[in-house]
Symmetry: D2
Subunit: 371 residues, 4 copies
């Protein structure tokens, strides 16, 4: 169990928490940094210590406690990552891949809100962060039409692939740098952040010149060479879950990025591989409450890949927001049946507007109940 | 593709739909019953016919059309089952298992509302149907305390197992008839319907004396002998999805019950078996939009078994309602840590009230958006 | 860890084993019965005791030791079941379902050979036990032609389904009792044991009049009502693994039968459900070494259902025998493309002869190496 | 369906095959290269043509026919790859990564034998190719002791990892170049080929200085950047199946390497991820007959990773050879319990000798039956 104290927690408050933990017989390890973190020895290496038996509830309501994490297992930095301070550390030294197109200075955040800033957006806080766009970059005119619709619907990011990971070497592999430039123009024209995928470490410097958030696709989640290099990048990373990755492995992949110096990791659930064939993948929304217990990183959900069928996107987007997603990743095209790839799971602008309307309604209803 | 016409559809409206389908080159088969059903030939045996290419949207908005089903595959009766009329047919002849404890006459329903009546509840319509209670029947005092809390929270049904399907013959196998009597008393005392599981066909007459809804557990979903016999029962059936059943197989199991004469089947998603171990099962909410396309049967969701962890129930219950569940099945106990079985996934009465409050808020928000 | 001593083990040999175990610090529990069984305390409830660390090798070669089982977990009777003595217990009392068509008295077995006798065959010993035949019972002439080929190829059993578990209620459900009679005649005419499936407990008395080995199909493996009743039958049971059953659950299903009084259970691996679609199921041969560690029950392999494709049966039959299967279950038809069901995975008589020739060659080669 | 003719096939033989195919109504496409390849139009894009109905048997025995492939789907080059000629093409031009430590000139092979040469070994032919060694490179003395045992047992290759793909960034990541040098020395001292893994494209030139066969691990199977670069390497590639990769995806990964110019790909089945937990992975031997139908590439099996348990390796190695594996990949250590990683699945030299003895016995028995 890990207890993260607020930055403003007093020594008296810290001592109270340590004392409470001591009642259960736990040995408490104190880690001083920008925030004080208290770790119950034993949980660090996966073995429960006596103090575990009291459970998070025993201290989660005490003064000065920011959050309590049940088990940080093999991903201690992911468990306590606080991206608001992280940017500073990442920038120390050589400033690799530094020309951030849309990412301005990180503004001080309201203390109570988790998450971090990218450009003029806050990800992982009260507002949903919706990223929408075509599977692959299209011609400039089509990209502009799509970006206009995406912005009009209220989304904050544009997605479009320039490097495509394909099962077959004989399939279309994407437009490369030309595609990145086209997508950047479309994003800029409509005030959107740009999210796009990199397939290996050599593409990072190039992609970082155009892209606000670097995406790691499902097939690369175990690519530790790529993950480590992204830990040196000054760009947030959107890390998709591997198609048969356990949640532990997914968090370990995030740990590669965070422990290499980049705390701005956004997780994205996109469906796992199961025996079921009615859906292309099995969107595993259970990941939302599980990840919440183990990490403070923002989590998006991609119901387009998660289901593989246009007609299921709306229902699953609603469910994602209801169980706590910080946002959505959606395949959207002005003419889905003419998309260069993945048309079967792509919705149109009217569909996007409906999804966002319902998502906001659910978000609002839940905030109303909680207050 | 199957087009089910409203009962009040005129011959002119039917002719209009047939003509519209004809434009796409489809051959249309007309089935006259209490409702007229139009089937596009070809989809009946799994091969798309020319008319398929136009898609459901082409006719779903036409006057007199009640619903359009994309593909009825191997489960034609499940696809078009309309339980409101079904009860009449089920009652023809010998009235097997007839002493319904709580199930009164089936009242005429508002035409626009799907689903069917059980006792004084309407299942599958505008109201959520929530069934809550302990995994196994407990002593009378505890059952009464639980039923009181369940009713006070606003749930409509009490669940409690008297016959338990256990992996090991050395585990507790349930209280049998004594348990049914205890649960019946608790349900009656607090105005709740009683839902309980039967393990084989020989238990049906006994269980039907005490129980309002007969449950088929996950491990028995393929038990066709049991399913066929339940088709002769005058009780609704709650049919849980098998732990590695495809949605097609699940609907086929329902088809066994419906085609044997009992149209009142309630489906219940309860998690499938995957490689993931962070959750006991992987609750597969994708089933909601998929089943909606293929069947008119009500669908409940069981986040207790679906996740196996108390702390994940609340989030997944919200998600279930958001993507269209007609209700929830929840393990609830006044003292979860002392439950006879499955305590790890059982919530307490305060948790139940919170789940229901949030479920209603989401339901309300979505109705607001749709109108 | 469980050490089963030979029936003829002397007190001195038992004392030696206890002493050897004691060197590792283990506390040893002695259970006296027809055989002496030594259990290392701790493994009984799943927690390793100090003695566990020495491993089975430390005692498996000592004089008087019959077998060493690593962990008997939740299936103690399956772990130590010895069907040679078992028949006696099963016969105590009412002799349910007693008119065994082919099953004579159980002859005394050579002490060193595991397994048990059915009719004039020994199952689970040195000889492979091969059961072959059509998926469903066919007309009498076809059944006779198939049985003739099966016997000529050297197989010992005929398989043919009279009660078929089908996904859809609209599919062919089998010929019922008429089919059993046809299959019995064919088996008798060619000196074969008859293996056929029962779907529920009510079918057992009828099936027991015709069938030598009662089969529990994959979809019924969790059907505890059926399993318990089979524990009262005086027929061996062929228990197929459920399509997504863990090996622990499979052994627990066997435990239902054995602990209810019937020790003659034959396990049958027939493929599990995974994401792979190149094969109908994923034949899981890993089950062979795993089950060998946990149980003394014979294990057959069904490569027909396990792969679902005729052209893969031969290779997987060879593999099954190589990793220790006690026999094979094969779908065979004189004209596979005209079989009433499952033709795609059915081989012809020439294929059967080739499979048996190769199986015997592998069995012989391995006996040669071991000696 | 693809028919590959022998290099020495006459025009008359080719015409006979075309005529035979024509009887079934098929349109036949002829591709002239070093060998003539006949493709039945239609199967090229996955749609069966009339000629398909006759099946491979119709022509496989005709004079001049080298092999018949049922369906080459999306991997045409993998389907017809013939590595014996391939080396020549790969060497054209820039000779990337050329200092092959052990790989001499490719000797002319007996026409009837499939596979290809690496150093002084022939892989994929009549002899089994066994690669054994520790998971990670150890100190020089231990590596030498292990290599001596591996060679003495009769294996042809040494495996040892210098770059380790680990789930957690906090785990041991391997010894890097120093490890490669240690392993090379041990292999040279005992006349073994060296097989070792690369994690990304940047490691290829370095690894190619030390290693005879470059391994792609399970987690990198979808890493198309790495696969493409390996297509330019003058080293054979051992391509492990991804942990949840379908066989189609696995062959597509091979297609990336082969179509980029390197035909010497060795496939390696190492277990897939399923729900079963009794084994670490589910070794999927069904891959052997499936791959045989679709490709001529050699296939090894890794029962160490496939089961994750030392005590299951022997049985599964036997099964692998029985169903057609061209060799084995085995984790072996002189002191398995002190191995730096994966000790639980590592066997000792005595175990290796036993595995090889049994493997040869099975191989011999099957050759005896076939002749």
């Amino acid at each position: 169990m890990i207890i993260v104290m607020e930055r403003w927690a007093t020594e008296g408050q810290i001592a109270d928490v340590v004392a409470r933990l001591g009642e259960g017989g736990a040995r408490v390890q104190r880690l001083d940094g920008e925030r004080v973190t208290l770790a119950i020895t034993g949980s660090l290496n996966g073995v429960a210590s006596p103090g575990e038996s009291m459970g998070p509830d025993a201290v989660s309501g005490m003064a000065g406690v920011a959050s309590v994490l049940r088990d940080m297992g093999a991903t201690p930095q992911v468990a306590v990552a606080d991206a608001r301070e992280g940017e500073v550390h990442a920038g120390d030294g050589g400033e690799p891949f530094s020309e951030a197109p849309g990412a301005g200075a990180v503004a001080p955040a309201p203390e109570a809100e988790p998450g971090f800033q990218v450009g003029d957006r806050w990800i992982g806080g009260r507002e949903l962060f919706v990223v929408a766009g075509p599977c692959s970059v299209e011609d400039p005119e089509t990209m502009d039409r799509i970006a206009r619709e995406v912005a009009a619907a209220g989304a904050g990011g544009l997605r479009a692939g320039a490097f495509k990971p394909r099962s077959s070497p004989h399939s279309f592999q994407g437009m490369g740098e030309e595609g990145l430039a086209v997508a950047r123009s479309a994003a800029d024209a409509h005030g959107l952040l740009l999210v796009s995928e990199v397939l290996d470490a050599t593409q990072i410097p190039l992609a970082a010149r155009y892209v606000d958030v670097l995406q790691v696709g499902s097939r690369n989640m175990y690519n530790t060479s790529l993950l480590r290099e992204l830990g040196r990048a000054r760009r947030p990373v959107l890390l998709k879950r591997g198609l048969s990755a356990t949640m532990d492995e997914w968090l370990s992949a995030a740990e590669y990025v965070v422990s290499a110096g980049n705390p701005r990791v956004i997780l994205c659930e996109r469906g796992i591989r199961t025996f079921e064939t009615a859906t292309r993948n099995t969107l595993d929304l259970n990941a939302l409450p599980v990840i919440r217990e183990r990490s403070r990183l923002p989590v998006l959900v991609d119901p387009s890949h998660g289901t593989g069928r246009r007609s299921y996107v709306r229902a699953m987007a609603r469910a994602a927001v209801a169980c706590g997603a910080d946002g959505l990743l959606l395949e959207v095209h002005v003419d889905p049946d003419r998309a260069l790839s993945d048309g079967a799971q792509t919705i149109d602008p009217a569909g996007l507007r409906q999804v966002l309307r319902e998502a906001e309604a659910i978000r609002g209803a839940l905030l109303g109940v909680e207050e």
